[in-house]
Symmetry: C2
Subunit: 211 residues, 2 copies
DNA sequence: AACAAAAGGGGTAAACACCCCCATTTTAAT
DNA sequence: ATTAAAATGGGGGTGTTTACCCCTTTTGTT
């Protein structure tokens, strides 16, 4: 009996190609593939559609990889999620692992590694490359001042990634310009940045804003 | 006799998967794959490594898809380049086509389309989806004020995508602050932007700067 | 010599960054 | 239940940086 795999990725060509790869492995076969997390969630209603492993992209429209993984962890904890993403920063990888992914494969993975990862996940329940481990360790040694941005601040940051002035941002957020400046000042402090350019770069690097 | 294909992409897993797909097509077989343009250029020194078609990613380290395509157009005009990229903006697609690519496949391509594209390129010499055509047409109707940025201005824009002040940028570029402001003013005019945030966004969207 | 870029400059008002402080509301601890 | 402590929204003032004018000198090309 082969283990069943589902591929969830909005890059159809990549999905289909991965399906081909997986099917070439001895112990694995693909059930189907989805273009986003919502499609997967819909599919899972039928018990025959429940796989052993989900190969999950992170950046997807509608329902992204992180949210989808959280959902699976809650409703289908028996499904192993292996994150498989093209190019992500460390923060995103961490979010994915925190959401419950059992492993993370980066873009420069070889197909042999993919097979190895699938096997190890079925045997041991997890798979971590040296790189992933290094990132995790690096994150631990790094200051744990997990910058906690509030909802309102995040909304402000998004607005700050435009050509609007702070006064205009205050208008669209129905707040006093002074409050906006207050947000800005405390955010600058938290993120150790000096000006709005730094803020924009932070927002982009942390997926608060996509240019 | 099958047509030969080479895959050039820094995403090894994707490359290997594409190789699998291509080999499953009747009329095509892959010769090898490369992780960047430089690798390809090196390979092509040997005549037996010259393929009929190159499936080329755009964003790659060392030698990117656009530069590589330009090189091929000059030195190996008989090789057909089919751009195959994950997610790009219209501008990049255009640059790729201008560099000499015979077609462009987007991320949501199905494998049947890939085969169709390969066939059509060998038969007609080009392949263009409706989407690509639409972009081209849209670009034509759009104002042709192709913003011509000078070398020095581009260098300045890159520096402007940091937390440096203009004075500091002037220092690192060995220019007077006033000259820098002059650059800025003329760029703002050309790009119809109002402040440095707009400049940063432009730079990112046009790959002058990668956050 | 003629002309066009490129580089540099002065001045001004708006926007921004960075201080200080205060009132109310929420949350947490006693 | 009471109180302390955050969190939230707002304000005053100041110096710096930006944005946007209009203008001069230097440099390079033909």
């Amino acid at each position: 009996m082969k283990f069943s795999v589902v591929v969830v990725d909005d890059h159809v060509l990549l999905s289909q190609a991965i399906v081909g790869l997986v099917d070439s492995f001895d112990k694995f076969k693909t059930l189907y593939f989805c273009k986003n997390g919502q499609e997967l969630v819909d599919k899972l209603i039928s018990p025959k559609n429940i796989p052993d492993i989900v190969l999950m992209d992170i950046n997807m429209p509608i329902l992204n990889g992180i949210e989808t993984t959280k959902y699976l962890k809650q409703h289908f904890p028996q499904i192993h999620v292996l994150a498989l993403s093209i190019e992500e920063n460390e923060n995103t990888i961490l979010k994915m692992l925190r959401a419950g992914a059992k492993g993370y494969l980066m873009k420069d993975t070889k197909k042999e590694i993919l097979q190895e990862a699938l096997l190890e996940i079925m045997e041991k329940g997890y798979y971590h490359t040296n790189t992933t481990t290094q990132i995790l360790v690096g994150q631990l040694t790094k200051k744990t001042d997990q910058v906690a941005l509030k909802e309102r601040e995040i909304e402000f940051i998004k607005q700050a990634c435009t050509e609007l002035t702070y006064k205009e941002i205050a208008d669209v957020m129905f707040l006093s310009p002074k409050t906006i400046e207050g947000y800005r000042d405390s955010i600058y402090e938290k993120l150790s940045i000096k000006n709005r350019i730094g803020l924009v770069l932070y927002a982009i690097r942390n997926n608060l804003f996509t240019p």
